[in-house]
């Protein structure tokens, strides 16, 4: 059974978002996504200072099996990326919600997150896929 965290927001394309205390938003992929992808071997994150937009590709995660685009749940400026993933992409598998985060955004409008799925709705989506 996949780990789904109550405090996070989700996309049906299996990204999660967490609002940090400073108002920035951290983006990663879900436990369900890492399990479906299998061993992650490369992660391409956006550059710090670049802009990401909802609905536009913000990065790529590649496993031995497949490549998958990464989408942001909010539009805004990228203020941090998880550089540790360059040398240890397997962290995405072992810790998808904590050490395996992808990038952090200073959102233009935090209200965009209201469009995202909550944990309950995301669980329904992955259960209907299985």
């Amino acid at each position: 059974m996949s780990d789904i965290r109550k405090e996070l927001k989700y996309l049906s394309s299996h990204e999660w978002a967490r609002v940090e205390e400073d108002g920035t938003v951290t983006i990663g992929i879900t436990d369900h996504a890492q399990e479906a992808l299998g061993d992650v071997v490369f992660v391409e994150t956006p550059e710090v200072g670049s802009r990401v937009s909802v609905g536009e590709e913000a990065g790529v995660v590649e496993s031995v099996k497949a490549a998958s685009d990464i989408y942001s749940l909010v539009s805004g400026e990228v203020v941090a990326v998880n550089e540790a993933l360059a040398d240890a992409p397997e962290t995405v598998n072992s810790s998808p919600y904590d050490d395996g985060w992808f990038f952090r955004v200073k959102p233009d409008d935090l209200a965009e997150l209201e469009e995202a799925l909550d944990a309950h709705d995301y669980r329904e989506i992955i259960e209907s896929e299985e």
């Binding site: 490369f42 497949a66 490549a67």
Partner: protein
């Protein structure tokens, strides 16, 4: 729900992620396919390959039948009991119906006979074709679905296997040359594999498979899934049916020219005239290895552009190589290809190196 091997419940109990594979429920991995891959390169791992189809060929025309059915010539193996031969089984147009291993089995009361191992995904068409051709020969084809098959591969595979089998079987294992297999009781033990490492493939009654698997596991052989099997075979430059070749691809375009026995010229095998004409004209395509040393993973079906050729090539298998730490691929490309080419990856043309189609052997990089 698909077909289940004798080890299905064992895979489930050991945490295998079971997926559909050619109609069979097979373990993809038991946690990490990269860890399983590395275990085979460095120590020993085992694979349930019971889904593969074993067909015994018996009867007075067994040899003549296989000489007509296969592009390789079983005459090459008849002097050595148990010797194995890799061959394509071609259609009249010179495409590959399947690739297979044939063993020259020690003679029994029925005389000389052979054991073939064909792919699982091609089982029905293979059996239909083999039976159709058999109509003109005095042969009997016996599918051995009573047998399970376990591949134990890696530098420690043979020694660890010997610790869990009877003295007689350990002696048989010691006697085996590479690419040879011999029966012992109801078992058949072969020094073959699909990983580029030394090791064994053992066929045994379904009823004995679980106990043997568990004994190997207790001895320290890691359970591995088909995902690791695929990255291991690709590093070793071994073809996978449906990828490097199929009914519409010539063995000459699939790095299988070495498996075609052209001599003696009077041996007529199915597909001979088609591929002989292609050989004389000069094949238009060949199979090469590709290497991408930067970030990104080449994938099957991506197109390959070659300088000086209008025709595109195609990646037949691509993956991340756990041993090398970057992406490798096999590709069928115009023969004019040079030392580099471009691969269309996710909307970009990426420059990659062209190498011989094998990357890793016996734990060591070849490039």
């Amino acid at each position: 729900m698909g077909f289940k091997t004798a080890l299905y419940n064992t895979h489930q109990a050991m945490g295998g992620k079971l997926v559909d594979f050619g109609g069979w429920d097979m373990p993809l991995h038991y946690g990490s396919q990269i860890e399983e891959h590395n275990y085979v390169r460095q120590a020993s791992g085992m694979f349930d390959v019971s889904h593969m189809t074993v067909v015994d060929v018996k009867g007075q025309d067994a040899k003549a039948y296989l000489q007509y059915l296969l592009a390789n010539d079983v005459t090459k193996i008849e002097a050595v009991p148990g010797k194995a031969l890799y061959s394509g089984m071609l259609n009249p147009e010179g495409g590959v119906i399947d690739d297979l291993i044939v063993y020259n089995m020690p003679q029994d009361a029925s005389g000389a006979w052979f054991r073939t191992v064909v792919n699982c995904g091609t089982r029905e068409k293979d059996l239909a074709w083999m039976n159709k051709i058999a109509a003109d020969f005095k042969v009997e084809l016996i599918e051995r679905d009573d047998l399970a098959m376990i591949a134990i591969q890696g530098p420690k595979a043979i020694n660890l296997t010997k610790t869990v089998v009877s003295t007689n079987r350990a002696e048989v294992i010691d006697s085996l040359k590479i690419f040879q297999g011999l029966p012992e009781g109801e078992w058949f033990i072969a020094r073959t594999g699909y990983t580029g490492e030394d090791g064994l493939e053992i066929m045994l009654p379904n009823t004995e498979a679980e106990a043997f698997w568990k004994a190997l596991h207790t001895a320290g052989v890691a359970a591995c899934g088909l995902a690791a099997r695929d990255t291991l075979r690709l590093e070793a430059g071994m073809n996978l049916y449906g990828h490097e070749m199929d009914d519409n691809v010539s063995p000459l375009a699939a790095n299988m020219g070495w498996t075609v026995a052209w001599a003696p010229a009077e041996r007529n095998f199915i597909g001979r005239s088609a591929i002989e004409a292609e050989k004389n004209a000069g094949p238009a395509f060949k199979l090469v290895g590709l290497v991408l040393r930067e970030r990104g993973v080449m994938r099957a079906e991506q197109l390959v552009s070659v300088d000086g050729s209008e025709q595109k090539g195609v990646i037949t298998s691509g993956t991340f190589s756990p041993t090398l730490g970057y992406s490798i691929a096999l590709a069928r490309v115009p023969v004019s290809i040079g030392k580099q080419c471009h691969v269309e990856m996710r909307g970009k043309h990426v420059l990659v190196d062209v190498v011989a189609p094998n990357f890793v052997r016996n734990g060591k990089p070849l490039i």
